[in-house]
């Protein structure tokens, strides 16, 4: 059994990663874990130095649930072992720490093809994971 961790954010790029994981490992009974990381927003009263969970945490949890449900539905009929996990904080840190915890064989993740600041920011998540994960990482294009 191969364990695969797929960080997903609901974008088409993370769907690509899900589809690649399905294509490569979906035919046998491997274990897939879908992870969605929700960020904190800065507590302005702390001048951005302190981070707190934003008040409508329930709403964010619902959003995360929807993303995970949606991505999990891609595996329908392929594998029964689909785990879903929501974590809070910096996406790259959470992905790296969670991978250390569950020790998957692979992390399969998307990389956004966007330009400008968004590319820079999103690219930095996959860069950080590539640099710090102790697991083999596939970045899907």
């Amino acid at each position: 059994m191969i364990k695969i961790l797929i960080p997903v954010d609901g974008s088409e790029h993370s769907r690509k990663a899900v589809n690649e994981a399905k294509k490569l490992f979906g035919d046998s009974n491997n274990e897939f874990t879908l992870l969605n990381v929700q960020g904190y927003i800065a507590d302005t009263e702390g001048f951005g130095l302190h981070y707190t969970r934003i008040p409508n945490q329930e709403e964010l949890e619902k959003m995360a649930d929807n993303v995970l449900e949606d991505m999990a539905s891609e595996f329908k009929g392929l594998s029964d072992s689909i785990n879903k996990k929501i974590l809070w904080g910096d996406p790259a840190d959470q992905i790296v720490d969670f991978a250390d915890e569950i020790k998957p064989d692979y992390i399969i993740m998307g990389s956004l093809g966007l330009t400008g600041l968004k590319k820079f920011l999103v690219g930095s998540v996959s860069n950080k994971v590539v640099n710090h994960a102790n697991t083999t990482v596939m970045v899907v294009k």
Partner: protein, 146 residues
């Protein structure tokens, strides 16, 4: 035929990259291309060495690179029965790997990151980041040794 491009550096991580390549190569018929990149010598005035003076290809580095590629190809052939093309390239590693990706259009690129420590690891890390950020193809960054 899917092409799998594997960067090898003569370390155990290079071997692990080949093992991973073979695993991914099982899904569809694949063609393997092994690449090793050697840097040009820095341009500086050195009366003892013509090569160092001109920023040329160092014949010792060429020999080392060819040996690494030969050993990797032999490892792939003897353990897994696959033939491979080998390619020795010169210059900045990420740039050269990206050039080769443009040329051969592989379905998967495999790089190792842990074959070195300290500053070298830092530099290699930046190689995989550059390749990941600019390649229009899936990239596998191998971290674990079996």
């Amino acid at each position: 035929m899917t092409k799998i491009l594997i960067a090898v550096d003569g370390s155990d991580y290079g071997k692990q990259c080949i093992k991973e390549g073979v695993k991914f190569g099982k899904y569809e018929p694949s063609e393997f291309i092994l690449v090793n990149v050697k840097g040009y010598l820095p341009q500086r005035v050195d009366t003892k060495s013509l090569y160092a003076q001109s920023g040329e290809k160092n014949p010792e580095a060429k020999e080392r690179g060819e040996k690494i590629l030969q050993e990797a190809a032999t490892y792939l052939k003897e353990n897994f029965g696959f033939e491979a093309q080998t390619k020795l390239m010169w210059g900045e590693p990420a740039e050269q790997i990206l050039n080769l990706i443009d040329e051969v259009k592989p379905g998967l690129v495999i790089l190792g990151t842990l074959g070195a420590t300290g500053i070298k690891r830092f530099l290699m890390g930046s190689v995989s980041n550059k390749v990941v950020n600019h390649a229009h193809t899936n990239v596998l960054i191998v971290k674990n040794l079996e």
